[in-house]
Subunit: 168 residues, 2 copies
């Protein structure tokens, strides 16, 4: 069984859909999304440095962060959280400063699976076909995939046995 | 020249688009959207009574209101404001309690036209074709059209000559 990212770019509708299974329980996955100190350790490609301006993962909260690539170019992202339900579901807006006002809406579902595992399912909705196609062509899949690999590594480090092994 | 609502339901993509011209300047139209005491006098069909729980029309703000039909059935709506730019533009999420989590994203542009007039342009983006089709079939066009007629009436009442005529 593989946990590889499954990402689809459906023909003719402005959506991107992906799902990813992880070998950790849903409450830990939710923490990885909700705690800024954790989020900053996994979201996006390894080559980027992430700085969080603010990140308030609750219904009505908002977020703003910057990814800086190895060449020093900053990419700013912001949005608001329309809904956050602990360990279950979130809806957020997403806007990249390079394309001002071209805002998307992302629906994220966490499914608890048997054996203490989780499926993360995201449905992203773009305001035009051009916006969706631009995002799909931007290297999004690689960045999302790498981010989930980093989430695996982070959650592995947070397991009790790993922390004890470090004499924490 | 007619100011009638122009609404389109494009084939195959989950959008609804409409535009409406009004014979009032953009700052007054913006006030009609931003001030709850004004909003409650025009948004939606005449037959509904509108009660606002909260309405904070600014970037990062949120809203919640109820429309009650003549038969006493309440319709609850909520969302957050991703962006609000005074007299220009707003992006909000929109969720109806009858379809929980089926949230749309609405982009509203105010264009200042010659002669102290305004064009209001809205692009609404739905998370599925089913959601878009359901909204289009719900009587949305009639409700939006009636709301703009009520906005015309409200803004007419707020003109200085109208207020003076009432001895205000």
């Amino acid at each position: 069984m593989t946990n590889a990212l499954q990402l689809t770019v459906p023909e003719g509708v402005p959506f991107i859909d992906f799902s990813r299974e992880v070998d950790y329980p849903v409450d830990q996955v939710f923490r990885a999304y909700s705690e800024p100190d954790l989020l900053v350790q996994w979201l996006g490609p390894r080559r980027n440095k992430m700085d969080i301006n603010h990140y308030d993962f609750r219904t009505g909260g908002s977020y703003s962060y910057i990814h800086t690539g190895p060449e020093g170019v900053p990419y700013e992202f912001r949005g608001i959280f329309h809904t956050v339900r602990e360990n279950e579901f979130a809806i957020q807006t997403f806007e990249f400063s390079g394309y001002p006002d071209v805002t998307s809406l992302e629906f994220m579902t966490l499914e608890a699976l048997d054996g203490g595992r989780t499926r993360i399912i995201t449905h992203a909705v773009y305001p035009s076909m051009e916006a969706r196609d631009g995002m799909a062509a931007s290297g999004m899949e690689g960045g999302v995939s790498e981010g989930f690999d980093r989430m695996d590594e982070l959650l592995a480090q947070l397991q009790p046995e790993a922390l004890q092994g470090r004499g924490a």
